[in-house]
């Protein structure tokens, strides 16, 4: 274990060197990074799959793996927020710190202020410690990542009755595309996952504890906090808890009363629905179109009517061959793992599914012993669904979000296969190394699937590429607005600059999500006609921040402003110069790439148009 801790340090060091090489434009940097991750995960996984390892060592090893992967994530974002979603929640946290109140509107993500669990905790830390919000957030994310791993390990351990299966399952869970980056981002889903894992553990604890102490003092506060933290996670947690209860009720042989079985899922559902109703059901409007579009596109993909080209970004960038091969290999390995372990997992849960042991009575099929394991095994079916969704443009994000939940099942199912079949009780280290390699491939492919080519940042600015678009010049422009214009002005800009304006600039940005107006069509219009003027007036926009770099490249995410128009080529630079000759439009800032035009006089000029 200590040798592996030393190796983890070396891995993080190599990863930081790779990040520096990447900034200098070295092509091999990404490969070096992934090799260093593999060299770290492989021995950890090879050790964990062996039968004769103590429980503490297993737990320490999975914690070590999680710490190593978290530190690698810090290398991606070592000084300030660069990930898109972190900005959304940073804006909400800033509002809380500034006003001392919750629920202030956030145009970047209108649903964020009404699910403020994460921001409450981090602003409390900031207020009490005096730490900068970024540092407080990273410290907090680190601690909750460790707690999440412990909770997941204990949950799997209770479900499988084996620390070995639990440790392997946690390690396989790290192969979820969102594990390394998305779920450690300063985002409400990251905290909600921790509450989810603890809620599952509490569910087990209440089963083993007499009375209702665990329900009242642990389950109720945690489920309430989960409901206040994240819509989708609280809903899925309720659903999974309900499935545990339903399976326990179906099998007829439970020794618990119906009330005791149902109290936790009912509480979870009540808090989820109750909070959602209290704040006006914003989830439906927010998630409805996301899921609707994802399902539509998935159906079209399954009917061979279109979809997204795998490994090709929206700007046409193709992933290197070795990354494509690793990802395909990972999907193949996971599918093999699921295929060879699915019935073993059900059999371990007590479902009589093994050949030669099939019962003659149908009732015997519903006499399983382990409801949670049955449920988790069925949850593994979400994995192929997430893969299909990832093959579509609209569904990519949903597929990525399903990952953490699908891997709850994938992890334990494959772990059971490894512990009972692939490695079994064998002490053969070569076999363990082979399995360790397979797990390392899954983890690496997970990182790649979730983060694409920009895990180490980008040597050069990329258009609409989230972390690869956040750079000091654009930050400085937004900070300039705060200093010289003041805060709270109505600004419109592209996907990246509006994040910076809302956070560094403290401006009130205009978004389609919040204002229901797409000013992107005004920014890219050839001229300001009556329709454009009407949009400017309706949105009461004061300033446009125009980034000339948008005209150089296609957007990596597929859109410059909000999802909508599909671009085949970058816009003509002339469209951004249309403001130059408009009487009443002042260019108040220019740095050669970014300019800020004040349209307030033009907007309010009754004679315009």
């Amino acid at each position: 274990m200590p040798q592996l801790a030393f190796l983890a340090g070396i891995t993080v060091f190599i990863a930081s060197l790779a990040a520096e090489a990447n900034r200098q434009g070295a092509d091999w940097a990404s490969l070096l990074f992934y090799v260093s991750v593999a060299v770290f995960i492989l021995p950890v996984a090879s050790r964990i799959v062996l039968a004769d390892v103590s429980r503490w060592e297993r737990l320490s090893l999975v914690l070590l793996a999680a710490i190593g992967l978290f530190l690698i994530r810090i290398i991606h974002e070592p000084a300030y927020f660069v990930d898109h979603d972190a900005f959304l929640h940073w804006a909400t946290a800033n509002d809380i710190l500034k006003t001392g109140h919750l629920f202030k509107p956030n145009p970047l993500l209108p649903i964020s202020p009404v699910y403020p669990g994460l921001e409450i905790v981090v602003t409390a830390l900031t207020e009490l410690s005096g730490l900068p919000l970024f540092l407080a957030a990273q410290l907090f994310m680190f601690i909750i990542r460790l707690v999440f791993i412990c909770a997941l390990f204990l949950f799997y351990e209770h479900v499988s009755n084996s620390s070995r299966i639990a440790a392997i399952a946690v390690l396989i869970y790290m192969g979820a595309s969102s594990f390394v980056f998305f779920d450690t981002m300063f985002s409400y889903g990251s905290l909600a996952l921790v509450f989810m894992a603890i809620a599952f553990l509490v569910d087990i604890k209440t089963e083993r504890t007499a009375g209702y102490r665990a329900v009242i003092f642990i389950a109720i506060p945690i489920l309430a906090a989960l409901a206040v933290t994240h819509h989708l996670t609280s809903f899925l947690t309720s659903l999974i808890l309900a499935s545990f209860a339903a399976l326990e009720i179906i099998r007829f042989s439970s020794s618990r009363s119906l009330f005791r079985i149902l109290i936790i899922p009912i509480a979870a559902m009540a808090f989820t629905i109750g909070w959602s109703n209290l704040i006006g059901n914003p989830s439906e409007a927010y998630l409805g179109p996301v899921f609707g579009n994802a399902i539509d596109e998935a159906m079209r993909f399954l009917s061979f009517e279109g979809g997204r080209l795998p490994f090709v970004a929206e700007d046409g960038t193709v992933a290197p061959a070795w990354q494509r091969i690793t990802t395909m290999l990972s999907v193949l390995l996971i599918c093999i793992g699921l295929a060879t372990s699915f019935f073993r997992a059900l059999a371990r849960a007590g479902v009589p599914v093994l050949l030669g042991k099939l019962p003659r009575r149908w009732r015997a099929f519903i006499e399983w012993r382990n409801d949670r394991l049955v449920a988790l095994t069925l949850v593994a079916f979400a994995y192929p669904l997430s893969i299909v969704l990832r093959m579509t443009r609209a569904g990519w994000e949903v597929g990525n979000r399903i990952g953490p939940f699908a891997f709850l099942g994938v992890g334990i199912v494959i772990a059971i296969g490894i512990a009972t079949y692939w490695q079994g009780d064998s002490k053969n280290r070569a076999r363990a190394a082979l399995l360790g390699t397979a797990i390392a491939v899954a983890v690496i492919a997970g990182i790649f699937s979730g983060s694409g080519n920009y895990i180490l940042g980008s040597a050069r600015y990329r258009v609409s590429a989230d972390s690869a678009s956040v750079e000091p010049m654009a930050i400085s422009a937004s900070e300039w607005t705060r200093k010289w214009l003041g805060t709270g002005h109505r600004f419109f800009s592209d996907r990246t600059n509006r994040l910076l304006l809302a956070t560094y600039g403290g401006q009130q940005v205009i978004t389609t999500l919040y204002d229901r107006y797409d000013l992107g069509s005004v920014e890219f219009a050839r001229k300001i006609g009556p329709g454009e003027l009407l949009a400017i007036r309706e949105t009461t926009v004061d300033y446009f921040l125009l980034d000339m770099r948008l005209t150089e490249q296609l957007p990596l995410m597929g859109f410059y402003f909000d999802p909508g128009p599909v671009y085949r080529e970058p816009p003509d630079p002339a469209v951004l110069f249309k403001f130059n000759k408009l009487a009443g439009v002042s260019r108040v800032f220019d740095n050669g790439y970014i300019s800020i035009v004040d349209v307030a006089r033009f907007r309010d000029n009754v004679y315009a148009q």
Partner: protein, 275 residues
């Protein structure tokens, strides 16, 4: 008993950190457990007084503390008291109240975790130190990476003064000392100029301007500031301007759809883009 005293000590420390100025590090050491662990730990001690404190109860302690903080936040919001003082009073209050109910004999010995040899401890410590060095190196490399060098030029109203008072300014972010000339034109006529300004990297130059705009004009009034920077034998320009629309202006003049392309600005941008 010892743990209970430590928890009470943290609660009192949290209260003191608001009243007495303390270094950030000390405040952070107090705040982290107060937000993430101590309230939950004491509640767990009340709920499961005889259970051995292992990983499971640790996880529950953190989970409950987080939940308590989230729910306290809602309470503080309702009370309009979401400040450092509010947090300190509430979390310390919860901790002290919970500590009151914890039985002194409820502490149980912790589990023996990993028993490491000296060499193993050395390896673990070395791994941690190397990781910290890596993070420091990553941060330094990240902060020193600036793809673009540029000059920020601006003109903004001078707040609190007559509406014809403006501030003209620019900041050198070229990462080297640079020579500038700046000229201000009103409707094409030179109004003022500041030649041969040399600014080092990061330096800002500002000047208050009184722009003689007419209060009522039948045509657009435009003041334009042109900044010229010299790099070797090359001379580049940037422009900002203030435009006051005419009292009455025909829409046709506002949208010259045939010639929207401003060639000066485009060429300036293209030169900057070559950096």
């Amino acid at each position: 008993m010892r743990n209970k005293v430590v928890c009470v000590g943290f609660a009192l420390g949290c209260l003191a950190s608001i009243a007495i100025p303390m270094p950030i590090l000390v405040r952070a050491v107090i705040a982290l457990p107060m937000v993430l662990f101590i309230p939950g730990y004491l509640i767990i001690k009340i709920v499961f007084p005889r259970e051995r404190f292992g990983v499971e109860l640790f996880v529950f302690s953190v989970g409950i503390s987080l939940a308590v903080t989230v729910l306290s936040g809602l309470l503080l919001h309702a009370a309009s008291f979401m400040t450092a003082l509010g947090w300190s009073l509430l979390l310390s209050g919860i901790t002290l109240t919970a500590a009151f109910f914890v039985k002194c004999n409820s502490e149980t010995p912790p589990y023996n975790v990993l028993d490491l040899s000296k060499f193993q401890k050395f390896m673990t410590a070395a791994g941690c130190i190397i990781a910290l060095i890596a993070l420091y190196q990553a941060r330094e490399g990240f902060l020193s990476h600036n793809e673009f060098s540029y000059t920020e030029l601006w003109v903004v109203p001078d707040k609190g003064h007559d509406s014809r008072n403006y501030i003209l300014g620019f900041t050198n972010k070229e990462r080297r000392p640079t020579d500038y000339d700046i000229q201000v034109y009103l409707d094409g006529q030179l109004l003022a100029s500041w030649p041969s300004l040399r600014l080092v990297d990061g330096q800002t130059w500002t000047e208050r301007l009184f722009l003689p705009f007419k209060s009522r004009s039948i045509k657009e009034q435009r003041v334009e500031a042109r900044l010229y920077k010299t790099e070797g034998s090359e001379r580049y320009s940037q422009r900002v301007w203030i435009s006051i629309p005419a009292e009455r202006q025909k829409p046709a003049e506002l949208t010259a759809s045939g010639d929207l392309l401003d060639h000066n600005v485009l060429s300036s941008y293209q030169r900057n883009g070559d950096h």
